[in-house]
C-alpha cells in the first residue's frame, strides 16, 4: 500500500463517510416501550448536554451575586437583558408572563446550535460524535408547534371567540374580506412550518457545507503535486464557514424567538 493510499484510508476513516453521515441517529442505550422505540440516542444526549450546559451556566452566574458583576455573572445578565428587552419591545409590559418560555426557548435553541459546532473528539465512537439536535426537522417542528400551540391556546383562553379577529385585520373594506380572511388563515397556519423549516434548513445546510469543504481538503491533499498545496484553500474556507456558522447559530435562535414573540403578541392583543 502506497503512502497516498495510507493517507486516504487515514483521512476517510478519520473524517465522516459523507456530508450526510453526521445527521444519523445512533442508539446509545436501547429502550423500547411496547412497539415504540424510545431509545436514548445521540440526539437525546446532545439535547441533554445543551440543557445541562444552560443549567450549569446560570447556576454559576447566579451563585455569588455581586453589585459589580464578575465575568460569568455579567454574561448571565446580558443573556437575561437581551431576552427581556426583546419581550418588552415586541409585547410590551403584559408580555412578561411569556418571558420564562421565551428565555427557555432561546437558551435551548442557541445552545443546541452552538454545541453542535464543537469538533468531535478524534477516535471517539460514532454515537458520541458531535450532533446538532436542531438539524433534525422533528426537533425544530416540535419546538415550532409548541410556540404555535401556546399562541392558539392562550389566545382562545384569554379572548375566546374574539381571538378569531386576527384573521380579519381592521381597516380592510368589507368587500375585500372574503379574499383577506383565507389568506390570513393560510399565513397563520404556515407559521409553524416556516419556523421549523427555517431553523432546520440553516443548521443542515451549514453543517453540510462544512463537511463538503472538509471533503475537498481530503481529496486535494491526497491528489498529490500542486493539488496538495492548493488544499490549504478549502481549509481556510472551513474557517470562514465556521465563523459564519457561529453567527448563524445565534441569529437563527434569535429569529426563532423573536418570531415567537411577534406571534405571541397576536395572542395578547389580537386587534391589530
Amino acid at each position: 500500500m502506497g503512502m497516498t493510499d495510507t493517507l486516504l484510508a487515514f483521512l476517510f476513516g478519520f473524517f465522516a463517510a459523507g456530508p450526510m453521515e453526521q445527521f444519523q441517529i445512533q442508539t446509545i442505550i436501547p429502550f423500547s416501550f411496547g412497539e415504540t422505540d424510545i431509545s436514548f440516542t445521540n440526539a437525546s444526549l446532545w439535547m441533554m448536554i445543551g440543557v445541562l450546559t444552560a443549567l450549569g451556566f446560570f447556576t454559576l452566574a447566579t451563585k455569588r451575586l455581586a453589585l459589580i458583576p464578575g465575568g460569568v455573572q455579567s454574561m448571565g445578565e446580558m443573556a437575561y437583558e437581551f431576552i427581556a428587552n426583546m419581550v418588552r419591545d415586541t409585547m410590551g409590559e403584559d408580555g412578561r408572563i411569556f418571558f420564562p418560555f421565551v428565555f427557555t426557548l432561546f437558551t435551548f435553541i442557541f445552545l443546541s446550535n452552538l454545541l453542535g459546532l464543537l469538533p468531535s473528539i478524534p477516535g471517539s465512537p460514532h454515537e458520541l460524535h458531535t450532533f446538532t439536535p436542531t438539524s433534525h426537522i422533528i426537533v425544530t417542528f416540535s419546538l415550532a408547534l409548541l410556540s404555535f400551540g401556546l399562541v392558539v391556546i392562550y389566545g382562545l383562553f384569554k379572548h375566546g371567540v374574539g381571538f378569531l379577529s386576527i384573521f380579519a385585520p381592521s381597516g380592510v373594506p368589507l368587500w375585500l374580506m372574503p379574499l383577506i380572511v383565507p389568506i390570513e388563515i393560510i399565513s397563520f397556519l404556515s407559521r409553524p412550518v416556516s419556523l421549523a423549516v427555517r431553523l432546520f434548513a440553516n443548521m443542515l445546510a451549514g453543517h453540510v457545507v462544512l463537511k463538503v469543504f472538509a471533503g475537498f481538503v481530503g481529496t486535494l491533499l491526497t491528489a498529490g503535486g500542486v493539488l496538495s498545496v492548493i488544499s490549504i484553500v478549502p481549509l481556510f474556507g472551513i474557517v470562514a464557514v465556521f465563523l459564519l456558522e457561529f453567527l448563524v447559530a445565534f441569529l437563527q435562535a434569535f429569529v426563532f424567538t423573536i418570531l415567537t414573540c411577534i406571534y405571541l403578541q397576536d395572542a395578547l392583543h389580537p386587534h391589530h
Binding site: 434548513a201 453540510v208 434569535f254
Partner: protein
C-alpha cells in the same frame, strides 16, 4: 436520459432560487448600509430589524438547498 444524470440536473435546477436570494440580500445590505451611513445615530435601531430581514431572506435560499439535498440524497 439516465435517471442518475437527471437527478443531478434536477438538484442543480433546484438551487436556482439562490439567484433571487442573492439579489434580495444585495438590496437588503445595500439599503441597510445606506440607512446606517445617512443616519449613523439610527444604526442601533436598524440592526435588529436588519438581522430579521437577513434571516428571512436567507431562509428562502436554504429552502431551495433543502430541496436540492432531498433530490440528491433520497
Amino acid at each position: 436520459m439516465d435517471a442518475e444524470a437527471a437527478k443531478y440536473i434536477g438538484a442543480g435546477l433546484a438551487v436556482l432560487p439562490l439567484f433571487g436570494v442573492g439579489i434580495g440580500l444585495g438590496i437588503l445590505f445595500g439599503n441597510f448600509m445606506q440607512g446606517a451611513f445617512r443616519n449613523p445615530s439610527a444604526t442601533a435601531g436598524l440592526t435588529g430589524n436588519f438581522f430579521i430581514a437577513f434571516a428571512l431572506t436567507e431562509a428562502t435560499g436554504l429552502f431551495a438547498l433543502v430541496i436540492a439535498f432531498l433530490i440528491l440524497f433520497s
